[in-house]
Symmetry: C2
Subunit: 431 residues, 2 copies
């Protein structure tokens, strides 16, 4: 933990809060080649890449019913119950995001409104690797189902033995996803971008992944596929005052740090005792963690800051725009209105980030890397598009017709004007 | 008008509705060079490019107060009144998009909600060229103001004499925008991406433009700036039944065709008389239009289709996913629920597309090029991000703590689990 700073001057904030810079290597070309091969060769390219990258031969890309049934038996009853409670909470919170469509009569006879429509075909990517992220299945599949997406396809890399982690299969099945494919990496994103014999082309692709997957999602956009969010390493910022519990603060910082060596944690305390105690607690708790090497490496790139007061701490947080923000302060609700940029906010001593990661109901697919300045996290909105609709009566067009004619003429668009003039004339003649 | 087709088989739809393919030339490199120069040289690069591309010397990039006052005097009273009515309607419709923040108690003691925050710094690009799009100023500046964006910067290319079109200045000023810069093209987007001495870096860039601007907005995303929408040529699809007015249909099709030679119009009629009459009307109205050469060229790439019935027509429209959809049919509200993909929908004989382009209240910045499948048009949502917030009480963490512990452990993330375990333990000890 190198960056331990007391009362930093504002002109040092930028350097102090610098995020780990991601190497931009020649990934684009590598991924572009994978894309071209998948577009040209379809499933056989997917199998080839699985052999090459995942070192496994896959005969059937589609996970069979029997595999799902087996997975259901392999998952423990207590995990099933946990997933069920999490699902219920996530469902409730996202269901409440459904928007009522109010009609607005902007001028007498001119009625406008919006209606949501599901994005029809969505692709969900769930990474394999060290952590089987079945929680991400919940976070993506539940809003997709509430939105009413017609086709929900899940891609996830096969394990060494050609199987998929049972918790992922169990959760996907629980959320009604029947099309689960054993394919990972950039080739999975390519399959969702172009479609293959087995896998349908998606309108939008969701989900986290390594640098290849991230680059592939960027490339997918060039082929007119939408994506959930630009990606970056995960991060948390914790603000603590004298009422904070150093043991909890340390645990929250470590839970972020264990995600990956490129994770970043920022700790801002307004109280020197809490500050020092938290640093001590981090060292103490770190040694017991199975992923302590990862966490240690993440902590190297992180900052621990003693700050004058709460307002300045929040100012710093807004400047950083964290993915996760924990306010371990007295009366945290008083501070919410001051927060201008953050992905998700956790209030008080009993609201750890892990609650939002799994089970409070909020979504854990959030803007990282400063994107909290200009992007929202995944929500029901991410799975729908909103269509505007207008209906104008005869009276309505008479009320706004002249305005349209004048503006269209001023822009030199006479056919635009004419579309109104003909209607006004026909109404004059009719009267 | 080459594509006049009666009752096309479904397997021909894709070819029939093909959009004009945009040449993907070496724009990326050209724009990349402009970006690098603007990043390194700032304002002086902007002035250099204005000289090169717009053939005009600009001393002060910022439009002066005196220029705005002059513009206010130059705009006619009747145009002022028209802009004022349009502004009022657009304001009403977008203001109604403000979202109330309902708290959801997903489990006893676990409260989650969302709050909107303005994207702080937004850049609006308004093209120059043949049509001075002051209407687009309204469409972007009004929701930016309602959202509460702190910094709203407008860039628009200077005319040959170094001035900016008065209607653009008048409208921007009316919408409270004080920072108007005379700079266009890819260099304007570069300025908003990196910031220069005069122009602040933006978090998100909005607005239409030519192929250089479009490519520049794509590139801006690689530098972590968000954009409103991927761009493409404008388009309308009109569905007409026996109740449609051929004169109106023709006028609506032409108002889209006059936008640009790459615009596309699709006409689907279920009634042969209306179909034939509309084709005749197009020829008749075309000759009187000042932009008839543009419109003619657009019509060359367009399709006129006679279809069996309304349901099949809507099915075809959903397949095409038009930016604008006009339903010139009896009881058009009955068909709204069947529409799955469209940017904005216009119902009945007295709702021309120009109404939405200028004054009904809906936004005219819409998804083109098939993006209506996976993107929404610009709305208040485009200028905010939504932050999720959660507050968990001691009871709350006791209610969901075990779920989090089990799920975190199953994902192998023990620090995530520990953040909850420590809290549960402290509560047990406290009791």
């Amino acid at each position: 933990m190198k960056n331990i700073i007391k009362y930093p001057a504002q002109n040092t904030w930028e350097t102090l809060l610098q995020r780990p810079v991601l190497e931009k290597t020649n990934l684009r070309n590598t991924v572009q080649e994978i894309f071209i091969e998948v577009r040209n060769e379809g499933d056989s390219a997917l199998k080839k890449f699985s052999e090459k990258f995942d070192r496994v031969n896959i005969d059937n890309l589609l996970v069979a019913k029997e595999e799902i049934e087996l997975a259901i038996n392999q998952v423990s009853p207590e995990l099933k119950e946990a997933v069920s409670q999490a699902k219920e909470n996530i469902y409730q919170f996202h269901f409440a995001q459904k928007e009522k469509s109010d009609e607005i009569e902007t001028t007498e006879g001119v009625v406008c409104w919006r209606e949501s429509r599901a994005i029809e075909k969505v692709g969900l990517y769930i990474p394999g690797g060290t952590a089987p992220l079945f929680s991400t299945v919940l976070m993506l599949a539940i809003p997709a189902q509430i939105a009413g997406c017609k086709e929900i396809i899940l891609c996830t890399p096969p394990q060494n033995d050609g199987s998929v982690n049972p918790a992922i299969l169990y959760t996907a099945n629980l959320c009604g996803i029947s099309k689960i494919f054993k394919v990972g990496g950039a080739q999975a994103i390519a399959a969702l971008t172009f479609g293959t014999e087995s896998i349908s082309k998606a309108d939008k692709i969701f989900g986290p992944g390594n640098q290849y997957v991230t680059q592939a999602k960027q490339l997918a956009m060039e082929y007119n596929v939408a994506i959930d969010l630009p990606a970056g390493p995960s991060e948390v910022l914790v603000i603590a005052d004298q009422t904070a519990n150093p043991e909890f603060c340390a645990a929250d910082l470590l839970s972020q740090a264990e995600h990956g060596t490129d994770s970043q944690v920022i700790f801002i305390a307004t109280d020197e005792t809490v500050f020092n105690e938290t640093l001590k607690e981090i060292k103490k708790q770190l040694s017991d963690l199975p992923r302590n090497e990862i966490a240690k490496s993440a902590l190297e790139k992180s900052s621990f800051i003693l700050m004058e007061n709460l307002d300045k701490s929040i100012e710093m947080s807004n400047f950083y725009a964290p993915e996760h923000l924990i306010l371990a302060v007295d009366n945290p609700r008083n501070s919410v209105s001051k927060i201008t940029s953050a992905g998700s906010v956790f209030l008080g001593n009993y609201t750890p980030e892990s609650a939002g990661d799994y089970a409070s109901g909020t979504n854990h697919t959030l803007p990282t890397n400063g994107f909290a300045r200009n992007y929202s996290g995944v929500s029901l909105d991410s799975f729908v598009k909103k269509i505007t609709i207008q209906e104008i009566s005869k009276t309505g067009i008479q009320n706004i017709g002249k305005t349209i004619e004048i503006m269209a003429a001023a822009e030199g668009l006479m056919a635009h004007k004419n579309a109104v003039s003909l209607r006004l004339k026909s109404l004059e003649n009719g009267i």
